[in-house]
């Protein structure tokens, strides 16, 4: 029902080579950009979830 639309698979490896390259480029960009973010900003974000209006933070014994 959905097969036989394309004719051949010669050069199919290009699909995943392109995918890998995409990943590597994005990965490098994300790593570089992320590591350059100020530590103070990172700390502020991760600390934010611990600050809540909860009346009692720890109820368990």
């Amino acid at each position: 029902m959905v097969s036989n639309i394309l004719e051949g698979m010669v050069g199919i490896h290009i699909f995943y080579v392109i995918g890998l390259l995409l990943f590597l480029i994005l990965f490098i960009v994300i790593v570089v950009r992320t590591m350059r973010r100020p530590a103070a900003e990172m700390n502020e974000i991760k600390e934010s979830i611990l600050i809540e209006n909860d009346p009692d933070e720890s109820k368990t014994t």
């Binding site: 097969s3 698979m9 995943y16 995918g19 991760k46 934010s48 979830i49 933070e57 109820k59 014994t61």
Partner: protein
């Protein structure tokens, strides 16, 4: 700015918590039942509704979608509101989501017991329920995204990225894998055939693990672990890198479930490569989780919820290392089709999913009910029982896997298989199956302790259904200033844009894997000798699917000497072009059945043998653990559906002649009468319309079309198997 008052919806969280607990007990109970059935077949009770083939999908679906699913929703509904400082977008959507999901679970339990199944693992539900799942899932996403849009905080915390990715990932997977052609209210055929169906199914199966069992739980970990430990997550930078890497890579790795099987080489290579790459982001998450506890290990000593979370993160690390190792071809020889896979999934399920769910419940229930946990001692007892039970469950199964694999490939000095009968290898590992029951019962015991503890806690407190809180309104920050805001930081406050990029990351992996496999003709070389199923064989195949035979028997022979000597010629990709759905299976508790129809092969048995074997397998081998299928001799085929089935197959591309749907019943009866006459020669009387006759016809069809020296009629056969 002046604070706005608003109310958290705690009632919906309570509902999901109760559903998690109740369905969790059911799922583990069914798990214990099927463990009993594998060691002692009497626990199949000789009736169709409780046979292993129907109970096993009930266990896996109850565990994944009922227990884990409700735990995800409980965790998400609680944390999302707190993180965004907003009530859920719509109370109506929350209620429809809750009751819709519970209805799906009930329908799943009923339909599996009645034998309505597509046979695609973890996606066995039939098409009307598939549609319900899609609707309820969209309602969940709608409610979640609506809440994000009306939030009172600028920044969308990392946990919510994982929730968004889970929503989008499951939506894509469920829709693509569920394309099926209905022929009645509870019967459909997958639109994909054979190898294509296998690739789509394991793209789904692998990523269901990713986007239902992993990413939402990583989201829960990013919220509940810091909250329970009272310390921020170790590295927010790592959470960004690990998020994007993980969601991008996971989608590509599905074919590692199909190594050495009838699949193009490039697809297998793709699966292995990306599986190995997955170790890095997975361990990024584990390291981030464990290092969050730096300086807080004293709390781990005292608090059961933290103990559970530590075991969960450790089990996650172990499983995400073991999984890629299992995708290596030489390791896969041992692990695939043996109990290794079962041990692996249970370490992940009981350790990672169970650990996070239990830890979250022990932390959340006292807070929600505004009281103390009834008994910390009982919670710690639960922890130790549950942790021990994982070991007692998994170690025997690893042992069983290696033992069976060694036996299966052992040859005598004369060059013959040392154990040519599959049953001989199974008999040796049955004691391990008994030990597994002990592990399962222990896990259930711990679970029941938690149920008691939490219900006592709930009884001592009271949920504030609408909890008052206040926060300043969100002031839109406007366009991005490149000098002060990075692109990612900007995206973190733009939920829709963020979701679009998540979708793109998910789509690339899926598209690269699925599109070439489905749309390129030369991936599936056809074989002239392979013919479509006759109406009787097709009916037999449908019964095979209905009874869940795939849960114990594979239908694909790998190109190893010990497999071809035992089962016959290795499987070719072109043999499965008429298989809607494919039936390759994932575990051999019984022998492979791909060549039961090849008369000169080692797996062929005559009609009388099959009749007696279905009636009572232990009459032929007293150590067999296969359930009885005596109802095959009593129940009739539904002849009214046969023309519909033929027309559906024609629509899917199976080359039956024009107008054959009108002749199909006559042909079915003719073939059935031949089998009846054959059985009569052995002194067995049966009517031609009984299910038994169809099953025998199907057994005599499988793998019988080709001779070992068959040639492929496609020029590009070197790309296939």
């Amino acid at each position: 700015m002046e604070n706005q008052k608003f109310y958290y919806d705690n009632k919906i969280v309570k509902y999901f918590i109760l559903a998690t607990i109740i369905w969790g007990v059911v799922a583990v109970l069914v798990g214990v039942l099927i463990a009993l059935q594998l060691a002692f077949p009497a626990f199949n009770f000789g009736i169709e509704f409780t046979s292993f083939g129907r109970m096993r999908p009930l266990h896996t679906n109850a565990m994944i979608f009922a227990f884990v699913g409700n735990a995800i929703f409980a965790g998400v509904y609680y944390s999302l509101q707190k993180l965004l400082k907003a009530r859920m977008f719509s109370d109506v959507l929350s209620k429809v989501h809750f009751w819709g999901w519970q209805l799906i679970i009930v329908l799943a339990a009923v339909t599996f017991t009645l034998g309505f199944t597509t046979s695609k693992e973890y996606a066995e539900l039939e098409w009307p329920i598939d549609i319900m799942i899609a609707i309820v899932w969209i309602i969940f996403g709608w409610n979640m995204i609506g809440t994000i849009l009306k939030r009172r905080v600028q920044h969308i915390y990392a946990a919510i990225w994982w929730y968004l990715a889970s929503f989008l990932g499951v939506a894509i997977l469920h829709v693509v894998n569920s394309f099926e052609l209905p022929i009645s209210l509870f019967k459909s055929y997958s639109i994909y055939a054979g190898a294509q169906d296998a690739v789509v199914q394991w793209w789904y199966g692998h990523n269901a693990v990713a986007f239902f069992l992993t990413t939402p739980f990583l989201g829960l970990m990013y919220y509940y672990l810091p909250k329970a430990a009272g310390r921020p997550i170790y590295s927010y930078r790592l959470s960004i890198i690990h998020f994007w890497s993980l969601i991008f890579l996971y989608m590509w790795a599905g074919p590692h479930h199909l190594l050495y099987q009838a699949l193009p080489e490039w697809v297998q290579a793709l699966g292995v490569t990306f599986s190995i790459m997955l170790i890095a982001p997975s361990w990024g998450g584990m390291i981030n989780g464990l290092l969050t506890l730096r300086g807080a290990w004293d709390k781990v000593r005292d608090k059961a919820e933290l103990k559970f979370m530590v075991v969960a993160v450790t089990a996650y690390g172990m499983s995400t290392f073991e999984g890629p190792m299992m995708s290596l071809r030489n390791v896969n020889q041992i692990t695939h089709f043996t109990d290794w896979t079962i041990a692996h999934t249970h370490i992940a399920g009981m350790g990672w999913n169970g650990g996070i769910a239990f830890g979250m419940l022990y932390w959340m229930v006292p807070k929600l009910f505004r009281t103390k946990l009834y008994s910390e001692k009982l919670a710690n007892t639960h922890f130790w029982i549950a942790t021990l039970s994982i070991l007692i469950y998994a170690i025997p199964l690893y042992w069983a896997a290696v033992t069976q694999w060694l036996m299966l490939r052992e040859y005598t000095p004369e060059g013959f298989l040392a154990y040519p009968i599959f049953m001989e290898t199974l008999t040796h590992i049955l004691p391990m199956y008994t030990l597994r029951i002990v592990g399962g019962v222990m896990f259930l015991t711990g679970f029941l302790l938690m149920v008691f503890n939490l219900f006592k806690t709930m009884a001592a407190g009271k949920v504030e259904a609408n909890e008052l809180s206040e926060a300043p309104a969100l002031v839109p920050k406007g366009a991005r200033n490149p000098m002060t805001e990075t692109i990612h930081r900007w995206m973190e406050r733009k939920a829709v844009r963020f979701s679009i990029w998540v979708f793109v990351a998910l789509f690339i992996g899926g598209a690269v894997e699925i599109i070439p496999m489905i749309f390129i003709k030369s991936n599936i070389p056809t074989i002239d000798a392979v013919t479509p199923y006759t109406p009787l064989e097709l009916e037999g195949r449908d019964i095979y699917v209905k009874e869940g035979c795939y849960t114990c028997h594979s239908q694909v022979i790998r190109p190893f000497r010990w497999e071809t000597d035992r089962y016959g010629e290795y499987s070719k990709i072109g043999e499965f072009v008429y298989d809607h759905p494919y039936q390759w299976g994932s575990r051999r508790t019984g022998p492979d059945l791909a060549r039961t129809g090849y008369v000169s092969g080692p797996m062929y048995k005559n009609a009388a043998w099959h009749y007696n074997h279905f009636m009572d397998p232990r009459k032929l081998n007293d150590q067999s653990i296969m359930p009885n299928y005596a109802w095959f001799a009593k129940k009739d085929i539904n002849l009214d559906l046969i023309p519909n089935k033929i027309r559906a197959m024609q629509t899917l591309g199976v080359p039956y002649p024009e107008g054959y749907d009108q002749l199909a019943v006559d042909d079915l009866i003719k073939q059935a009468e031949q089998i009846v006459a054959d059985l009569l020669n052995s002194g067995i009387e049966i009517e031609p319309t009984k299910q038994m006759v169809a099953m025998i016809a199907y057994m005599h069809k499988m793998g019988g079309d080709i001779e070992p020296a068959s040639t492929l009629n496609n020029d590009s056969h070197e790309n296939g198997k």
